[in-house]
Amino acid sequence: MGIIKAIKLTYDYIKRDEEGNPDGVKRAVDHVDIDIEAGEFVAVLGHNGSGKSTLAKHMNALLLPTEGTIFIGEKDTSDEDNLWDVRKTAGMVFQNPDNQIIGTVVEEDVGFGPENIGVPTEEIWKRVDESLKAVGMTAYRYHSPNKLSGGQKQRVAIAGVMAMRPKCIVLDEPTAMLDPNGRKEVLRTVRELNRKEHITVVLITHYMEEVIEADRVFVMDDGRIVMEGTPQEVFGRTQEMKDYRLDVPQVTELSWELKQDGLPLSDGILTIDQFVDEIMELYNGGNGRGDAGAVEAPGMETAQR
């Protein structure tokens, strides 16, 4: 069994009318089966209201399943006795950086988690030092969180989770409120944690560019997991992605359009380098055949669009 395993996980929100009486049920997560191995970098992709955040909250026992089960580190989250173990195994980073920082000084905020789980004082200091170093925020340890940029605040939040020594970090749209630089900063940090510290990462997002480096991508739509695979496999099914109202990275889209117009490119090109390589190969090979002009023309036209 992987570190996170969900079996037929289902969650219903009870809708209420203005007087607070139950008024229908909205199924946010619908019979989801996932199995995430320790050390993996997994991304969950979906547009607004696809149930991806609800799924994320199950991984931290903030929500408990209506039906089905979810195991975190082989512990069933719906068992009250497992609550703290589950939260120690899977840390969680939220969307709004301001609303998850408790401390008035950076280092105190990082120490908040270990304080809660009863870590002895010297050990807390050790963990705070290590976590701040892991996210590259040591220089800001005495600063007030209010004076940091969005990306820095989010790195502090990640350090706060790291200080609890989790096996897994669940990030619920951590970059949604950040500018492009902040987004890069946070993603770089997350990737490094995954590679160097072998932390399992579950990244919930709706930005395509952020999932390219994931080991595996789940695409959610209307509470169900509708696609699963490596980023290349998932983005290779461009038409399907579009049907789920999701974009694919620009270069993937371009190569897909070119392919529609008859260029023999491979499926799911994710990087510009890869795209350039394939085009160059076609160009060089095509010259020899002599009919390159005929193939190239529609391609160029599409590229200019």
């Binding site: 840390g91 939220f94 008035t104 000084v105 270990p114 002895p120």
Partner: protein, 267 residues
């Protein structure tokens, strides 16, 4: 405007007073306040003046900075001086008209009252100037730990205080943003009488409240996700520990208090 008030502010510098345990400083402030109500002679006030001056010297906080804090209570000070000056009855009358009498006793009384208030404000602002809000709540939590036996939720109260302190600047910024957004759509906060102005604050307060509630829900979830479950079995990153300097400070306090009591009962 909110940022101009110096009472309750922290002054960042390096001094013995800054390094003292917050519990010691809380106790010291309490002792000083009590001593000010014990003083009723020139010698008594002189002693507390020397004591206060010595502490200010130790704190490395510029005197001008502390004096600036007095401006906020100037009106209160003038009113109480006025009452004491004009309405004290005594034998040695100097001027008298209608119900107002200025007597030697009145002048003495007013002068002492002014000194007492000024010393009280300087003494207590000295504590906040040398103690970070966080240390202060820590000090209160540990210092009042015995109240847990009386089922007073000491930990919860101090946690609430420190979260409030953390969110004050965020909410100030937010108020600013909402105000600008409403002004951009033609809201007017500056003209009209008091009631009209108060009414115009409604479109600021409603969104501010809603967003604070949302923040509170988010924060509660984030705290839960980080295993927060109240004060039980919680360890501390920065536990409070009395050092030699704290013991010395308590000794100084005890001497000062003894001297003030002696002065009051002997003279």
């Amino acid at each position: 405007m909110i940022r101009d008030i110096t009472i309750g502010q922290y002054y960042q510098t390096e001094s013995v007073l800054h390094r003292l345990d917050p519990r010691t400083k809380l106790m010291g402030t309490l002792v000083f306040i009590i001593s000010m109500f014990l003083a009723d002679t020139w010698i008594g006030y002189a002693l507390s003046a020397v004591y206060l001056a010595a502490i200010i010297r130790l704190s490395h906080v510029p005197v001008s900075f502390i004096v600036r804090g007095l401006k906020a209570v100037m009106i209160l000070l003038l009113i109480s001086v006025g009452f004491n000056l004009f309405l004290t009855n005594g034998e040695h009358e100097i001027i008298s008209f209608w119900i107002f009498h200025i007597t030697w006793e009145g002048i003495r009384q007013a002068f002492f009252m002014a000194i007492r208030l000024i010393f009280l404000i300087m003494g207590s602002s000295l504590m906040t100037l040398t103690t970070t809000p966080n240390q202060l709540t820590d000090g209160l939590e540990t210092g009042l730990g015995w109240m847990k036996k009386l089922h007073v939720p000491v930990h919860e109260i101090s946690m609430m205080m420190s979260i409030a302190l953390r969110f004050i600047p965020i909410l100030v910024d937010e108020t600013d943003k909402i105000m600008k957004a409403q002004m951009a759509r033609g809201a007017d906060f500056e003209s009209g009488n008091l009631i009209e102005r108060a009414k115009s604050l409604v479109p600021i307060l409603v969104p501010l409240f809603i967003s604070s509630f949302r923040r509170a829900t988010d924060l509660a979830m984030a705290m839960e996700a980080r295993c927060y479950h109240g004060g039980e079995n919680r360890t501390r990153m920065k536990p409070l520990r009395y050092e030699n300097r704290d013991r010395l400070a308590y000794l100084v306090m005890a001497f000062y208090m003894a001297a003030m009591i002696a002065l009051r009962s002997l003279l």
